[in-house]
């Protein structure tokens, strides 16, 4: 009886995992398809892979510029968010709870509302989209609150006396900030940065409303391809890209698991 229950449990877990991975696995397999159709298998080939990894074709430059955008947005968000989080943490209760509340708005708000309201502002201020300012600032609106959310818990865990001690020992406030506070909250800053990178890479809605007409991110590009017919060389080459990301993720998960395992072993 117990055995049946246990195997039913794992069967359920297995089915959900299958549901989650089936689409990605399917694209990985079909990235080696000779045809551009998902509905028919016409033999093994590297055509989609070759197309994707050719810098003269659209996809690869778009992937690289999306990555560059993500790094720029994440860096700016991390600086703004970290400084902001320190400021909020040391503000009076009323100020800090007001700022924390405002910080939550882009987190819970529907992305389309954030995007449309930001687009209204861009129009009102008459900032040309070609300057990339709307795109970068728009994504910062999305990312910075998450940086703040990952830094604040670290500030709460920090030993506050160390900063005072540094000042008493003659460090300037700026020095104390950089050599005492920042190192202590570093894990929060790093996770905030990584989160900002993934959010920027993932974003479609904000980018669609704020990007220059000639610029594409992975998201906006694939979305624009979907509007055309079902057969498309460029679209099929993104199957290869899906496979690449999937592979990177698998490696990352294995590495993380091994590291977690080692850490666990050391503790024992």
């Amino acid at each position: 009886m117990v055995k049946i229950k246990t195997s039913l449990k794992w069967l359920f877990i297995g089915l959900v995992i299958l549901f989650i991975y089936a689409p990605i696995l399917l694209l990985t397999v079909y990235s080696f398809n000779k045809s551009e159709l998902i509905t028919s298998w016409e033999g093994f080939s590297f055509d989609h892979w070759k197309y994707f990894f050719d810098m003269d074709n659209q996809p690869l430059p778009i992937v690289l510029q999306t990555l560059l955008l993500a790094v720029i947005v994440a860096t700016l968000s991390t600086v703004l968010g970290t400084v902001g989080a320190i400021g909020i943490f040391y503000s009076k209760k009323r100020v800090s709870s007001a700022l924390n509340g405002l910080n939550q708005i882009p987190v819970i708000n529907a992305e389309v509302v954030t995007a449309i309201s930001f687009a209204f502002l861009v129009v009102a201020l008459n900032i040309p989209k070609a300057t990339y300012i709307p795109l970068v600032v728009g994504q910062m609106v999305l990312c910075t609150p998450f940086v703040v959310l990952s830094v604040i818990p670290k500030l709460k865990q920090m030993d506050n006396n160390l900063y005072e001690a540094a000042l008493d020992l003659g460090a300037s406030p700026a020095k104390a900030l950089f050599s005492v506070i920042i190192p202590q909250i570093m894990p929060g800053i790093v996770s905030g940065f990584l989160l900002a990178v993934t959010l920027s890479l993932d974003d479609y809605v904000i980018a669609a409303y704020t990007k220059p007409n000639t610029f594409q991110t992975i998201s906006t590009h694939i979305y624009s391809l979907a509007k055309g017919g079902t057969v498309n060389t460029i679209k099929s080459s993104y199957w290869a890209f899906t496979a690449v990301i999937f592979f990177i993720i698998v490696v990352a998960v294995v590495v993380m698991n091994i590291r977690a395992h080692r850490k666990g072993g050391k503790k024992q």
């Binding site: 989650i20 399917l26 694209l27 703004l80 819970i108 449309i116 209204f120 996770s191 694939i222 666990g264």
Partner: protein, 280 residues
């Protein structure tokens, strides 16, 4: 002896971010309110609201496109949230209570697909549906596919918070329930479920609103055939119906604030766990 020296106040560091929030978050929302309550000349009016809640021509509001969109959206959102919950709770429960040493490794399997670009992921699901042969076949399939797309995308947001609350439950409560004679089912219903309510609430709030507004999923999964509130707003903006779009956005904002209030206010701690922050 007290040393007097001019101290740099750390709270001043909040100023740049406060300005950023004021200009890029608060002002845009005020512009939405402005457009919702003004006409083409910029003078105050309730006409946009009235227009939103009335039909066109001889049709009543209940036959209007916006009413149908809202109802369809609510249905999609409700079903997606329910299905997410029905899948996510058992998953979170099984992982949290299993005897494996490496629980977080198993949990990671459910979270990592989130690191694949969102549009790529939706695209992959669409290709799968095409492969099976149920893509863009009929209105019924479109509705089904939209819900499937939402569930596929937002499932991790439901699993994570529920897992976090179940794993934190003090084991001695469960032992106490057993010692007092409660069976497995009773212990679950009287102890585990009530104690994981916070996780359920936070999961529901993370799935409900996005599955009403994420028009990328609904457009993609149905070849633009199924309309939800998000796509309605998007089309309003693109067709220069800014006043109408703003009224709809304002409705969503109201709903968001109401839901936040109903689910226990702005809880920064739980929201930090959104999008898998805790895993980094």
């Amino acid at each position: 002896m007290t040393k007097l020296r001019p101290r740099f106040s750390r709270k001043l560091l909040a100023i740049p971010y406060a300005l950023f929030l004021a200009i890029f978050v608060v002002v845009p929302l005020l512009i939405i309110v402005y457009y919702a309550f003004t006409d083409a000349d910029g003078s105050f009016t309730f006409d946009n609201i009235a227009m939103f809640f009335s039909g066109s021509g001889s049709d009543s509001f209940f036959e209007s496109a916006q009413f149908k969109t809202i109802m369809q959206s609510l249905f999609i959102s409700f079903m997606s949230t329910l299905i997410c919950l029905l899948i996510a709770y058992p998953v979170a429960y099984i992982i949290a209570t299993c005897k494996l040493k490496n629980k977080s490794g198993l949990l990671l399997l459910f979270i990592v697909p989130m690191w694949v670009n969102f549009v790529l992921r939706v695209n992959a699901l669409k290709e799968l549906l095409d492969w099976i042969g149920i893509y863009n076949k009929s209105n019924g399939w479109n509705l089904f596919n939209t819900i499937l797309g939402m569930v596929y995308d937002f499932l991790p947001f439901m699993i994570l918070p529920i897992y976090t609350t179940i794993i934190k439950i003090d084991k001695s409560y469960l032992e106490a329930a057993r010692d007092l004679g409660a069976g497995g089912a009773k212990t679950f219903l009287k102890v585990t479920l009530p104690l994981s309510k916070a996780g359920i609430m936070s999961g529901v709030s993370m799935v409900f609103l996005p599955s009403m507004t994420n028009y990328v999923v609904s457009n993609y999964m149905t070849f633009n055939h199924t309309k939800i509130i998000g796509s309605f707003i998007d089309e309003c903006f693109k067709n220069d119906l800014w006043n109408m779009g703003s009224v709809t956005a304002l409705l969503l904002l109201t709903l968001m604030f109401f839901m936040t209030w109903a689910t226990g206010g702005f809880n920064a701690q739980e929201d930090a766990g959104r999008r898998g922050t805790s895993l980094w």
